[in-house]
Assembly symmetry: C2
Homo-oligomer: 338 residues x 2
């Protein structure tokens, strides 16, 4: 199978070209794709590269990998409050394995369809497995102002929220690596969160005009939150007794929190929540006066959110115990070159 | 050196943010970059991935590699007649080597500055060396029509042109691989074409409204030209006696064609021109009535162009000898998975 046959067989869907509501004037098959942005909108752009052995295990199910490769990019759009439009895919493959390609493209395109996000084109080459996606989203201007959610808008007094749950992806990773022993049920359960993350696109859209700042949690909550603090030039305090519940938010809805809690110490749970990584939830801030609007946005997008702390005028990120006393921050965020 | 320090030290240029003529509302440092397209324009998007050992030698000068990684993407914009605006960079690195990073970013950003193409953001990760750039360009609408050059516009009777010269990059590659013996002078000379290709951006812009179809020559002339024929549903004939001169266009301007021709058989020269690859020239078509305009566009962009054949109503790509007789096409184009 040659390069062009590969693209045609697994990634080209001619029946989708020229859809009436599409902003894609020219898609796969020319030197460039052509995108026609709508008047009064900005284009949000993000790019993530996934490397075998670094971001995923070599034997991961290719359909899940296709899903995740796009999901982590959609998560960046969600954090920006952008509506997904389209993406490019660059793929380095050791060989053109039909079974792998069929699974990968199925997972990728299923998630793309779910979000109306069109594959614009890209590149395929031979090499160590590497997946690089660049994603494009739309953000409207309203009354001369961009509706994009940025990291830099948090203000003293704002509440801090996190969507969904944190820590389960990391728990699955530790389980798969063998550094922690998990019951088959817990592993199967948390593994879905590691391999099939849900980008919080609907929540990001619902938070436009409500949230003051947002980021997606990919390297660990404390590290990612600190980017918001730096960009906004503010400090924050987090109540650990509340934050720790983030590990169970997901599980309680499916009745399996008991399995988790019986296996994990409190210290371990906190580590997973604060510095787990690979969560793809949104951490965001909003004025306290907008608690009702945040609640409505969560309801509208069918995504639970938890209020875990508050922005202040300081420069530090303080962790508070149940008595309101500071606890030292000993949790490090993930860094590819540290 | 951590991931964020690496980005800050080698790729962040805060003094460039908020330039008055920039369409970049938010650049490096948030979940997404925000691009503000100008009214009445389309966005041209292209993406190329370069893999160590596949697209470049492991010991290649990192400054040249930085240049080439962007050049091959700008070449796609050129083929589309798009004005470069911005790009994202995803980089997988075995380690954060300061000397390598300094050279790479110097070569990359120098070419970016030359074309006013702003680095929007991207991703850095650990892994086998892999460089993935997605580039954005602007194409205007004029009288309700996109000015983009596409592969699909060639018409019977159109002339076929190629910019600059072909085959020297492949000659250098063969020389470096040891499959052909080149004088040090010829190797040094052709190596510049392999490692420092010049994207034909100015020519692409000058050809808007003049050329009927265009493509950039990256996998070999015949293979790339056949994409134009397929997309335009036409045939073509190429005069080999003229095409063979493409190997010397570059050299004659610097007085070194004698070096080449004394070393290469005619068959070898034809192979380099027709299926060399890595040329990053433009192959384009234009109505015969516009020969004067093509000449003017070439002059304006200071890029020589050579007329090598003609589009016809057939379905084949025919190669003609000096007597106008058909010569069998035995030249295969580069394919990553063939």
């Amino acid at each position: 199978m040659g390069e062009f046959e590969l693209i045609k067989r697994y990634f080209l869907r001619p029946e989708r070209a020229g859809q009436r509501d599409s902003l894609v004037a020219v898609g796969i098959g020319d030197d460039c794709a052509l995108l026609q942005p709508r008047p009064g909108t900005q284009l949000a752009i993000s790019c993530d590269m996934l490397v075998e052995g670094r971001h995923f295990f070599s034997d991961v199910d290719p359909e899940s990998l296709g899903h995740k490769a796009l999901a982590v990019n959609l998560s960046d759009l969600a954090a920006c409050g952008a509506k997904p439009l389209a993406f490019t895919l660059a793929l380095a493959l050791p060989s053109a394995d039909p079974a792998w390609l069929a699974g990968f493209s199925r997972g990728l395109l299923a998630l793309a369809d779910l979000h109306g996000c069109e594959l614009l084109g890209g590149d395929t080459t031979q090499g160590p497995l590497n997946i690089c996606i660049t994603v494009f989203g739309e953000v409207p201007w309203v009354n001369g102002q961009s509706q994009a959610l940025l990291r830099s808008g948090a203000k003293p007094g704002d509440d801090i929220y996190v969507s969904g749950s944190l820590g389960q992806a990391r728990l699955a990773l530790d389980g798969l690596r063998g550094s922690i022993k998990l019951s088959p049920k817990t592993l199967a359960h948390t593994r879905l969160r590691l391999e099939r993350p849900t980008p919080r696109v609907a929540l990001g859209l619902a938070l436009r005009g409500i949230a003051s700042a947002a980021i997606d949690v990919s390297d660990g909550l404390l590290g990612d939150l600190s980017h918001v603090l730096t960009a906004s030039k503010v400090g924050a305090s987090i109540t650990l007794e509340v934050a720790i519940k983030l590990i169970s938010n997901y599980a309680t809805t499916t009745g399996t929190y008991e399995v988790f809690s019986s296996q994990l110490t409190k210290k371990c749970q906190l580590g997973l929540v604060l510095a787990g990584g690979d969560d793809y939830e949104l951490a965001f801030t909003a004025p306290a006066s907008r608690r009702g609007q945040v609640e409505a946005a969560a309801k509208q997008s069918q995504t639970c959110v938890t209020r875990i702390g508050q922005i202040d005028a300081g420069q530090a990120l303080r962790l508070l115990d149940a008595q309101g006393q500071s606890v030292p921050n000993t949790w490090a965020s993930f860094d590819h070159f540290a």
